[in-house]
């Protein structure tokens, strides 16, 4: 059963305030995922304090680095049920978990961070994991 939207709103805002597009419907997700050009980060947000409490600040820190995805999208697991199911259908061979994150390049999932790699870690560790993946899969920044 979904949580009160009043409770969830700040958790949504933690990502939307740093540039994430909130994908609230299956159609929103389809539009985001069918744009296969370039790089993207899709975050499956979650209420769970045990893991999401580190995930969102970790994402924010990672996006402060020099290499970052072209597009940012998020669905809220347990809240936007159809949108979440639609998102998971694009990586159906990976067991579902939330929070979790998918890095996409030209429409393909190149890196996935499942819940169990978030929940035992600090925000700094989550950021370091993501930053490393951004550099590895999204390439070095253009020279200044």
């Amino acid at each position: 059963m979904p949580y009160s939207e009043m409770m969830v709103a700040p958790m949504r805002a933690e990502l939307s305030s740093i540039g994430f597009e909130e994908l609230r419907t299956a159609e929103d997700v389809e539009r985001f995922m069918e744009n296969r050009e370039g790089t993207a980060l899709l975050v499956l947000n979650s209420v769970c304090g045990c893991a999401a409490g580190q995930a969102r600040p970790g994402v924010r820190q990672a996006l402060e680095g020099p290499v970052k995805p072209d597009r940012l999208g998020t669905v809220f697991a347990g809240q936007d049920v159809e949108a979440t199911a639609q998102a998971r259908s694009y990586f159906a061979d990976i067991p579902p978990s939330s929070p979790s994150m998918a890095l996409l390049k030209d429409g393909e999932v190149v890196y996935f961070v499942p819940r169990h790699r978030i929940e035992s870690r600090s925000a700094e560790d989550v950021a370091a994991d993501l930053t490393g993946a951004f550099q590895r899969y999204f390439g070095a920044p253009a020279p200044a």
């Binding site: 769970c48 304090g49 045990c50 893991a51 409490g53 580190q54 990976i94 067991p95 978990s97 996935f112 499942p114 819940r115 169990h116 790699r117 978030i118 929940e119 035992s120 870690r121 600090s122 925000a123």
Partner: protein, 91 residues
Amino acid sequence: MSPDWHPERHELHGITVVVDTSGPEIFVGRCDDLDDHQVILLDVDVHEDGDDGRSKEEYVERAARFGVWKKFDRLVVPRSRVVSVRRLGEL
């Protein structure tokens, strides 16, 4: 340092753990609680040594990379059968 969201529960509450037993079974699930008598797991997968041609160690290696598909919503493992409880994220 993350806040303690559920101070009345065991420190592993909410953490995905690998529960190995003295028998052929090994479990992966989200720890709900743990005490001297039992380990309560949510969203649980179970593997028996040799199933699908995979040893317990091979199963855990794969689980650590991708996670698991749950077979049970909730499962209680008697502590007397438990050999170890480890965080999946640290394997």
